[in-house]
Symmetry: C2
Subunit: 200 residues, 2 copies
Amino acid sequence: MHIDIVIFDGFDELDAIGPFEVLRTAEKLGADLHAELVGAHGAGTITASHGARLLVDRGPSERADLTLVPGGGWFDAGPGARAEIERGDLLAALTGAHERGRAVGSVCTGAMLLAAAGLTKGRPATTHHSAIEALRASGADVIDARVVDAGDLITAGGVTSGLDMALWLVEREAGPELAEQVADELEHTRSGRVWQAAAA
Amino acid sequence: MHIDIVIFDGFDELDAIGPFEVLRTAEKLGADLHAELVGAHGAGTITASHGARLLVDRGPSERADLTLVPGGGWFDAGPGARAEIERGDLLAALTGAHERGRAVGSVCTGAMLLAAAGLTKGRPATTHHSAIEALRASGADVIDARVVDAGDLITAGGVTSGLDMALWLVEREAGPELAEQVADELEHTRSGRVWQAAAA
């Protein structure tokens, strides 16, 4: 399973780095998962919402099984999720992934990118507590859970819930024992509810 | 309070980014704290243990009130904490900070850098569970807690415990209400014991 974590200027550092570290640790421990940090607009330097600067080699791949977007900048006038919605090409990458039958996902206010791409209407989803009403207004069936797995749409609540989403992915793809090994390596106590669609 | 989070090739991403995001969020919410990611050997590109690449503008400052080191690479032959111990200049920066009466701290196996710098002998400290015996062998008084605050020496357990260490720093410097605001913003449930020296 190939996972692209798509970052952009103004993204929230932990939203992306949390899942990245969980998934990379799982791969090291034997899970058939490979996560990469990629840039929404291709290779280059990306400045996150708290000021960290990251280098990426490429943009989103059409071959990714899961395209995951962090949040950040949803309430700001500057760079971030809201600016990406206006710019449009990240939305096109998300819509394209969905049209090819691939999964998309989000951490925190990254869900508002999925909403703007039209991918949450009538679908179970969650986001950061501050954006719940905006997500509901997109037509999403907002679920009160830390992680919402609707199969081809996987969303997490705020910031650190990305760790629990990634651990859920590890559990789903490689089993609960490996997920516990990863949580133990990171000294992370999993918390909150994972909601899973009955048919997923 | 100025905090330098000193990163190096092979550092563990979350060890550094977790506290960085907590401290930057606290600053945004009004705490008199300023954290920066800096390079152990000055400005440049740094490749973390799971492959993320970060850009930094400068090396450690002698004016930092707290110099914090992440772990990563303690058990590997490649880049990381063990390689930094052999290289030596990060140890010199830590020893120098201590000699100037400034605080030093660590997340995860970053404690082994403090140990190699001679700063844990006879002092209360903790580290990632995998390095506890090595830390004890350095002469440290190993404490069974997620965060150990000995005043001028502040250490955390593995990876995600860095979030709780940073939240403790926010609580200590700016009060429990602000710390709760930050934890709420990050949707993080604080966990584990904070041990604090009686005189601290």
